[in-house]
């Protein structure tokens, strides 16, 4: 099996995730797209672990999974806080920092 199979699949998932981050307005949907991006990176790490016949890549993938779980928890808490203060989670309405 070619390493490029896994790497190309991961590239497709990464680009779909980037498209989601750019296109979506709903904050929860943007977080879901970020999950797609993180999973594509994990797929790459696993493919490289198999390619080099070494489990270091799998250990890194486990670290990424753990950090991603923390990221989702904090991200959704922030989304809830924004919703409670503004009754909306549309990202284009959060423009207080614009001069």
């Amino acid at each position: 099996m070619l390493a490029a199979n896994f790497l190309l699949l991961a590239a497709v998932l990464f680009c779909i995730g980037v498209f989601g981050v750019i296109a979506r307005r709903n904050a929860v949907m943007v977080l879901m797209s970020i999950e797609l991006v993180l999973n594509s990176v994990n797929l790459n790490l696993i493919a490289f672990a198999l390619m080099n016949d070494d489990v270091d890549g799998q250990v890194f993938a486990l670290f990424v999974i753990g950090i991603a779980a923390a990221e989702v928890g904090v991200g959704l808490a922030m989304v809830l806080l924004i919703y409670r203060n503004r009754r909306s989670i549309s990202l284009d309405e959060l423009s207080e920092l614009k001069g």
Partner: protein, 184 residues
Amino acid sequence: MTAFSLLAQSVSDGNVNVAQNIGFGLIAAVMIFAALCVVTTKNVVHAALWLVIVLGGVAAQYILAAAEFVAVSQVMVYIGAVMVLFLFGIMLTRAQIGAEDGLNNTGWQIGIPVAVVLFGLLAFVVLDAFGDDTLAEAPLTGDNNEATVDIADRVLFQYLAPFFGMTFVLLAAAIGAIVLARKD
């Protein structure tokens, strides 16, 4: 090297594992379709459920790549915990039931050329650098626990300091989420 010659090479290669390639292709097709649905559907709950299919497909690919422990972790952490968080988030922000307009930005079309150009760049780099590399054959027989034992050894010896760091990150994230989300 183009994708077509890559395909021809993988067919003409004598010792290629056909079943593994077919399984990979089927799962990959399902994953890409589900990922496209995640970023295009008009229903937030449906997007979360399509995301479950993508994450399950990633776990299946891990098993194909002989990473059973990571696959089980993926199922437990993502499909078990993260999806519940997402569904709670959708529920608590009172998403509309059913199809919903205005999930996309006004200028969402700009994402299409960005994604296509990015994919072209990534595909060129990947095929240029790793076009010929083959993966080690997944150990389908014998002692399958070796990789898991290796992971345990490295996490608790070589990568112990990063592991502790990650535990503190998780602790801080849990406390931070509680502080952010509590009402008073």
